[in-house]
C-alpha cells in the first residue's frame, strides 16, 4: 500500500466527568480537557504498525473540526503520522457530512486503506466508517480486532455479539477500529518536537466543495435518569435475604 488515511476526531477526554448544562443546551465543554477519540487513536496506531511492518509507505492523519483540532493532529504526528490535514469548521458535523468530507479527501489522496474509530465517545453515533464505505462504494470492516494483508486483500477479524467473525475484503477498504485491535503507544518528548516540523495542511469545507447538510436537530440535552442509592447489607446472609425480599431468588 502507498497510503493509509486515518480519521482523528477531537473529543472530550474520556476521563472527564460529563456535566449537562442547566439550560439543556448541551454539555459543558469550556475548559474541559480534549483528546483524540480513543478509538481513532487505536486506528492511527494500527496504521503506524502496518507502515512499520513495511506494508505501507505513508500515513495521513485527517480531522474535521475547529482550529484547535490541530492539537490532536499534532499528537497524531508525534505518534508517527507523516502528515496531517485539518478540514477546519466550527460547525457541528454530522456523520454523513463527515463521510462526504472524508470522501473528498480520499478522491484527492487515493489511499488504499482508511481506518477510523468504530465510534466517537462524544456522540456515540458509530456511523462514519460504514457511511464512508457506502459513499466510496468500497468494502467495510467494522469493529475490527485484528487485520492482516495479502495480495491486495485484507483479512479482518470483527468483534460481533456472538463472538469473532472473519471477513475478507478487497482493497481499497474502510476499517473501523475496536478496542482490542492494539494498545496505542505513548508519545515521547523528542517525537513531539519532531512533529512540529511535519506538514499540517488546513483546508475549508468550501475548498472541498462541501456544503453541510445537517439532518438532525438536537432539541434538548438532559442528564440521565439517576438510580436511587439502595441499601447496604452486612454479609452474604443479608444479601440472600434482601434478594428473597425482592422475589429475585
Amino acid at each position: 500500500m502507498k497510503k493509509i488515511m486515518v480519521g482523528l476526531k477531537r473529543v472530550v477526554d474520556y476521563n472527564v466527568r460529563i456535566r449537562v448544562k442547566p439550560d439543556g443546551s448541551g454539555v459543558i465543554t469550556d475548559g474541559v480537557k480534549m483528546s483524540i477519540n480513543p478509538f481513532d487513536e487505536i486506528a492511527l496506531e494500527e496504521a503506524l504498525r502496518i507502515k512499520e511492518r513495511g506494508e505501507a509507505e505513508e500515513v495521513i492523519a485527517v480531522s474535521i473540526g475547529p482550529a484547535d483540532a490541530q492539537q490532536q493532529l499534532r499528537t497524531g504526528l508525534a505518534m508517527g503520522a507523516d502528515r496531517a490535514i485539518l478540514v477546519q469548521t466550527d460547525k457541528l458535523v454530522e456523520p454523513l457530512d463527515a463521510a462526504r468530507t472524508l470522501l473528498k479527501l480520499i478522491e484527492k489522496e487515493s489511499p488504499e486503506l482508511v481506518i477510523v474509530g468504530k465510534q466517537a465517545i462524544d456522540d456515540d453515533n458509530g456511523q462514519t466508517g460504514a457511511m464512508l464505505a457506502a459513499l466510496w462504494d468500497r468494502p467495510q470492516g467494522t469493529c475490527v480486532s485484528e487485520v492482516t494483508f495479502a495480495d491486495g486483500k485484507a483479512t479482518v477479524t470483527r468483534e460481533v455479539d456472538s463472538g469473532l467473525e472473519t471477513i475478507e475484503v478487497d482493497l481499497p477498504a474502510v476499517l473501523t477500529a475496536d478496542l482490542r485491535l492494539n494498545e496505542p503507544r505513548y508519545v515521547k518528548l523528542p517525537d513531539i518536537m519532531k512533529a512540529k516540523r511535519k506538514p499540517l495542511e488546513t483546508v475549508s469545507l468550501d475548498d472541498l466543495g462541501i456544503a453541510l447538510d445537517p439532518q438532525l436537530e438536537i432539541v434538548k440535552t438532559d442528564p440521565p435518569a439517576q438510580r436511587q442509592k439502595g441499601v447496604m447489607v452486612e454479609d452474604v446472609d443479608g444479601l440472600i435475604s434482601a434478594l428473597k425480599d425482592k422475589g429475585l431468588l
Binding site: 472530550v12 466527568r17 460529563i18 449537562v20 454539555v27 454530522e94 456523520p95 454523513l96 465517545i121 462524544d122 456515540d124 456511523q127 466508517g129 460504514a130 457511511m131 464512508l132 464505505a133 457506502a134 462504494d137 468494502p139 467495510q140 467494522t142 483479512t155 470483527r158 460481533v160 455479539d161 456472538s162 463472538g163 469473532l164 467473525e165 472473519t166 471477513i167 475478507e168 475484503v169 478487497d170 478496542l179 482490542r180 439532518q215 438532525l216 436537530e217 438536537i218 432539541v219 434538548k220 440535552t221 438532559d222 440521565p224 438510580r227 442509592k229 441499601v231 447496604m232 447489607v233 452474604v236 446472609d237 443479608g238 444479601l239 434482601a242 434478594l243 425482592k246 429475585l248 431468588l249
Partner: protein, 313 residues
C-alpha cells in the same frame, strides 16, 4: 404517516430477539403498518417466526445465496431496493445493525438516529451520548426517510400471537463481490444469552485470572445466570470479547444484575443502568458502583462467591 420497515436479525435459522425489540419501538411511532424483511438463503422459517410478533403487518423474505451470512455491503443495497414505500427503516443496535444501518442510510443519502431509547414523535427521539452521561432529544426532518437503530435494552420484546402475511420477494440490486464472509468463532456455551438473560453475573479485573473467573461461571450456573465482564477483564484475557458489557460492548437489561469486583466506571455502568436490580460486591466501600447499586455488600469477592454458591445450593 408512513410504513415502517424493520431489518430482521437472525443466525440463519432463528430470529434474534433484537428484532422483536425493534417492533416494540416501531409500535410507538405513528404508522400505516410495520413490515419486517428477512435476508437469508431460505428465510421462510425465520419469516414465520417474525410473522408471529404482534403488531406486524407483513413479513418479506429475500432468499439469495449471497445472503447466507450478514455482510453489510451485500445487504445494504437490497434494503435500499425495497425502501421506497417506507418512511422509517429500523434495525437493532446490535453489532449486526451497527454494521448495516449506517451503510443503508448513506446509500439513501440520509442521516441516522443511533440507539433510539424513546420515541417522542414520529421524527423525534431520545438517544444516549457520552456513554449515557447525557440524553439528547433529536428531531429529524419529516421530508426524508428516517433510518435508525433501536437500543434493545430500552424496549421489552413485542408480544407474540400475531399472524402477519409472509411473502417471498426478490430485489433488483447490484450486489458487490468485494466482501467475502469467512467464519464465525463463537464460544460454545449452554449458558443463557447475555443480552436476553433475566439474571446476569458480571466480573471485573479484581477476579485476577482466567482460573479465578471460573468461580463466576460456577455461581452463574447455579442460579441460571448469564456471565458478563468489564472491558478490563476481557482485555486481561480472563473471558472472551462477547462477554463485554458497557459503552462499547453489550447494553443489557436483566431483572437481576450482580457485579463482583467492579468499580463502576461510567463506560461499564452505561451498559447496566436498565437492569431491574443491581447488586454490587466490592471490597472498596468507596467504589462508585455502590452509588447506583440497589443492594451493596462491602466484602472480598473471593469469600462471597463460594459462600453464595454453597448457600444457594
Amino acid at each position: 404517516m408512513g410504513r415502517i420497515l424493520i431489518i430482521a436479525e437472525h443466525d440463519g435459522s432463528t430470529l434474534n430477539s433484537s428484532t422483536s425489540k425493534c417492533v416494540s419501538c416501531a409500535a410507538g411511532i405513528e404508522n400505516d403498518g410495520i413490515d419486517i424483511v428477512v435476508f437469508a438463503t431460505s428465510g421462510a422459517g425465520i419469516a414465520s417466526q417474525a410473522a408471529g410478533l404482534a403488531g406486524v403487518a407483513k413479513v418479506l423474505h429475500v432468499d439469495n445465496e449471497a445472503n447466507a451470512n450478514p455482510l453489510a455491503a451485500v445487504i445494504a443495497p437490497q434494503v435500499v431496493a425495497i425502501a421506497e414505500p417506507y418512511s422509517h427503516i429500523l434495525g437493532p443496535s446490535t453489532t449486526f445493525g451497527k454494521d448495516l444501518m449506517p451503510r443503508v442510510a448513506a446509500l439513501l443519502g440520509v442521516g441516522q438516529v443511533s440507539d433510539i431509547m424513546a420515541v417522542l414523535g414520529p421524527y423525534t427521539f431520545q438517544r444516549p451520548v457520552y456513554a449515557g452521561e447525557a440524553i439528547v432529544t433529536v428531531e429529524a426532518s419529516a421530508d426524508r426517510k428516517l433510518v435508525g437503530t433501536v437500543r434493545s435494552a430500552s424496549y421489552k420484546a413485542a408480544a407474540t400471537g400475531g399472524s402477519a402475511a409472509v411473502e417471498a420477494t426478490s430485489v433488483d440490486a447490484n450486489l458487490p463481490t468485494h466482501s467475502r464472509y469467512g467464519e464465525l468463532k463463537a464460544a460454545a456455551s449452554d449458558r443463557p444469552d447475555l443480552q436476553t438473560a433475566s439474571r446476569v453475573i458480571c466480573g471485573g479485573r479484581a477476579l485476577g485470572s482466567k482460573e479465578n473467573f471460573e468461580m463466576v461461571f460456577k455461581l452463574a450456573d447455579k442460579i441460571g445466570a448469564a456471565v458478563g465482564a468489564t472491558r478490563a477483564a476481557v482485555d486481561a484475557g480472563y473471558v472472551s470479547n462477547e462477554t463485554q458489557v458497557g459503552q462499547t460492548g453489550k447494553i443489557i437489561a436483566p431483572e437481576l444484575y450482580i457485579a463482583f469486583g467492579i468499580s463502576g466506571a461510567i463506560q461499564h455502568v452505561t451498559g447496566i443502568k436498565d437492569a431491574g436490580t443491581i447488586v454490587a460486591v466490592n471490597k472498596d466501600a468507596e467504589a462508585p458502583i455502590f452509588e447506583i447499586a440497589d443492594i451493596g455488600l462491602v466484602a472480598d469477592l473471593f469469600a462471597v462467591i463460594p459462600e453464595l454458591e454453597s448457600k444457594l445450593g
